[in-house]
């Protein structure tokens, strides 16, 4: 019962802050709602017994990506200010298609039959570590390459060109 309460409260938190991200006119308020939704997703990971992913989600998403987005917002201040309209020409079509996608996805989710089990999972820290070294070592190495490329690329792209 407590798990159900926790799930519904966290789901409400996530969805309300996601709506805040999408609908807020002030970008900084949007970014804070985004941080809140990341925290909500981290709590969902706890409910799913994914403790390592909880730590990684808070560390990377809340701690680093939110900071990155806030820096991005501050460095690209719009000259028109905060109260300008935040939706572009196609927002009605976007809303309709998003709603249609949601209905389709939930219909498919309820119609499918999965082999569900409620067994308690093992220790995910050990499991993820072993998986990264044994079966998924190539994606692990490729991910490190991706990060290196992103690091160098971001510096090269965002560098001030007046520097000789």
């Amino acid at each position: 019962m407590m798990e159900a309460l926790a799930f519904y409260a966290t789901a409400a938190l996530i969805l309300i802050s996601a709506l805040g991200v999408v609908l807020c006119r002030n970008l900084v308020h949007s970014a804070m709602s985004l941080a809140l939704s990341f925290l909500g997703v981290a709590v969902i990971y706890i409910l799913l017994h994914a403790f390592f992913l909880f730590g990684v989600q808070v560390l990377i998403y809340v701690g680093a990506i939110t900071v990155l987005i806030m820096f991005g917002i501050m460095l690209t201040r719009d000259v028109e200010g905060n109260l300008v309209q935040q939706t572009n020409r196609q927002h009605r079509m976007a809303a309709a298609s998003a709603l249609a996608t949601f209905i389709a996805l939930t219909y498919i989710a309820f119609q499918s039959h999965f082999n569900v089990t409620n067994a308690t999972p093992g220790d995910s820290v050990v499991g993820i570590g072993v998986a990264f070294i044994s079966r998924y070592v190539v994606p692990f190495e490729v991910a490190s390459l991706v990060l290196l490329v992103a690091l160098v690329g971001a510096i090269v792209i965002a560098r001030d060109k007046e520097v000789d």
Partner: protein, 108 residues
């Protein structure tokens, strides 16, 4: 209703994904679009981990492929956010505005 199962997480993930999709399509500021893109990636992660918890555990309680996939998605999301923001900053330097409506030089 009181017993949380796989379908609850799937509906949550679908809702978050669709809110993120609406935002990515409808927001005017490019950084706003990036933020909604992060919501979509989070929804995908919830989906992966929910399947890993409820379905993969039936096969083998030590099969953590969903978690591994989610960790890789987080990694790639961080990389792409940084490159995306670098691009946005560059566009801002050149054009002084980053509304996705108005940066359409390369459209047909």
């Amino acid at each position: 209703m009181f017993e949380i199962g796989l379908s609850h997480y799937l509906v949550l993930s679908a809702a978050l994904f669709c809110i993120g999709a609406y935002g990515a399509l409808a927001r005017r500021n490019a950084v706003g679009v990036l933020m909604c893109f992060e919501l979509m990636l989070n929804a995908v992660n919830i989906n992966l981990v929910a399947f890993s918890r409820y379905v993969a555990q039936a096969v083998d309680p030590n099969l953590f492929a969903g978690h591994v996939f989610a960790a890789l998605v987080i990694t790639v999301a961080a990389a792409e956010t940084s490159i995306g923001l670098a691009l946005i900053i560059n566009i801002y330097r050149n054009r002084d505005r980053i509304n996705v409506d108005e940066i359409d030089l390369m459209k047909w």
